[in-house]
Amino acid sequence: MTFKIAASPHAHQRRTTQQVMRWVYVALIPGVLLQTYFFGVGVYIQLALALLTAWVAEGLAMRLRGRPIGHAWQDHTAIVTAVLLAISIPALAPWWIIVIGTAFSIIVVKHVYGGVGQNLFNPAMAGYVLLLVSFPVQMTSWPVPNELAQLQVTISDTAQLIFSGFTNSGYNLEQLRMGVDGVTMATPLDSLRNDLNHQLTLTEALNKPIFGGLAGIGWAWINIAFLLGGLVLIKQKIISWHIPGGMLVGLLVPAAVYWMFNPDQAITPMLHALSGATMLGAFFIATDPVTAATSNKGRWVFGLFIGFLVFVIRTWGGYPDAVAFAVLLANMTVPVIDKYTQPVAYGHGGRS
């Protein structure tokens, strides 16, 4: 008889892709709940549309590739892509935005490259960039946080707005985005960017109702919720701390240095950390196991690079937020990072 000899590690926790993906979207729940609290039930409608599109697109792609359809639906990777994309886009964006984005993410970014585990780019972020480049107006029209909005929208209003562009009483999105002072409100990062570019000082730029507490109203709490969800993932060993840690260091250290030299012309590190998609990007997007670097050292470099790119694009670039672009650019560098950070196997030489 033969003895089965297994390679080390001998004690390990075995997790299927499905279990890993389930943890990821469970950890997203607090952030999604808060996002709904601040931006309305539109978030749920976007999620439903994204999941439905992902389900259909996944089935269609598997059918075209001649593979068993059920298997793809069971591994839950499409669900994570759909959820990430749905919470990255404005809650009241028209329905076709999320449908086009999700279909592109699943069919072109994921399945054209060979399906789960083969894709070069993060599917959710590639879909997001497609949408941002193609439909800049819709993709930057974030609704006003509920407590600042002049008009409160009901659930049926939200659905009407997403599917037809107008609420029951005939308001369009532009009118709803007016704050109490009748001025259309931008997101905190967008507003800061515009004001700083118009030679206002940071103190003047922050003197707007959308800012309060630590960072922008709503955004700070949403980011904290994603931070907590991410810490749960690290605790559960779903993701390693290297990528989020690297990304936050790569973003906050240059931001802090830059801010110390221009204290009134630069965004503070606190605003960098708790605005836009920083925490969602650091813990949920950049950590995608398929498109990130492989070794721990490589992950650290990958995270630092993303963080630094976010800082550069937010400070000097053409878009207010940068996580999607930074992640895609870093995805391209992964083969190089992997080549130069390959760990030395035990007994195979090294520096000595």
Partner: protein
């Protein structure tokens, strides 16, 4: 090369499909990706490239015995540049609107690798009538891919076809414009360069799929089993 009809048939097949400059050799991608946002631009640039290719192939083939091997590339470039300048001046005179919309990409035809590639690989080794036909077929193959790419991108991005065809073909062509669907917000990505790369990838994939399909369904020659006698009779 023995049978002249076969040579022309082979050249046609090579230029249009098997060795298509855009789909197989992947040459001349810079203008291919840059100007194919509409069918009109694509057709204009394709025809200009076609004329340059035929002219340069004939000339290179005629002078091939008099050009020292060491300096052949500069000579070929001079020949190509001459034809490009001729085409550029003609376009400036007769299709000024298109001339403006293609802009820098007309003089850049000089740097199109498909042209210098044909001069080096075919025209410098073959008689002038074969070279002329080769240039024609390669040019048509290139133009067809340009038009296909332009058509797909124009439909995806604008929902129209032949928009601005009057710039190339005269005023009557304004009625060629077809509006397939009306969009309030165009899919900008299809018109921007990334859209060109993505659509181009799908076209190449489509061609490979057709090739594989044909190879799989081609009639296989019957295998004749011949026995080797190992024993003496």
């Amino acid at each position: 090369m023995s049978n002249p009809v076969n040579t022309y048939k082979e050249l046609t097949w090579q230029g249009l499909w098997n060795n298509n400059p855009a789909l197989v050799q992947l040459l001349g991608l810079c203008p291919l990706l840059a100007v194919t946002a509409t069918v009109t631009n694509a057709l204009g640039l394709g025809l200009a490239t076609l004329l340059v290719l035929v002219g340069s192939n004939i000339t290179v083939s005629l002078v091939r015995d008099f050009v020292p091997k060491e300096i052949r590339i500069p000579v070929f470039v001079m020949v190509i540049a001459t034809f490009v300048t001729v085409i550029q001046l003609l376009m400036n005179a007769y299709v000024y609107g298109l001339y403006q919309s293609l802009g820098i990409f007309i003089p850049l035809i000089v740097t199109n690798c498909a042209i210098i590639g044909r001069a080096e690989a075919y025209a410098s080794k073959n008689p002038w009538h074969h070279s002329a036909f080769d240039g024609l077929m390669m040019g048509i193959g290139f133009t067809l891919v340009l038009v296909l790419l332009g058509g797909i991108r124009e439909v995806l991005g604008n929902g129209t076809l032949f928009d601005g065809a009057n710039l190339l073909l005269g005023d009557w062509a304004a009625s060629l414009r077809i509006e397939l669907f009306r969009v309030d917000y165009p899919l900008l990505l299809a018109i921007l360069p990334p859209g060109a790369f993505i659509v181009m990838g799908f076209i190449i994939a489509g061609k490979n799929w057709v090739d594989n399909y044909r190879a799989a369904h081609a009639e296989k020659p019957e295998k004749h089993v011949t026995r080797a006698r190992v024993t003496s009779q």
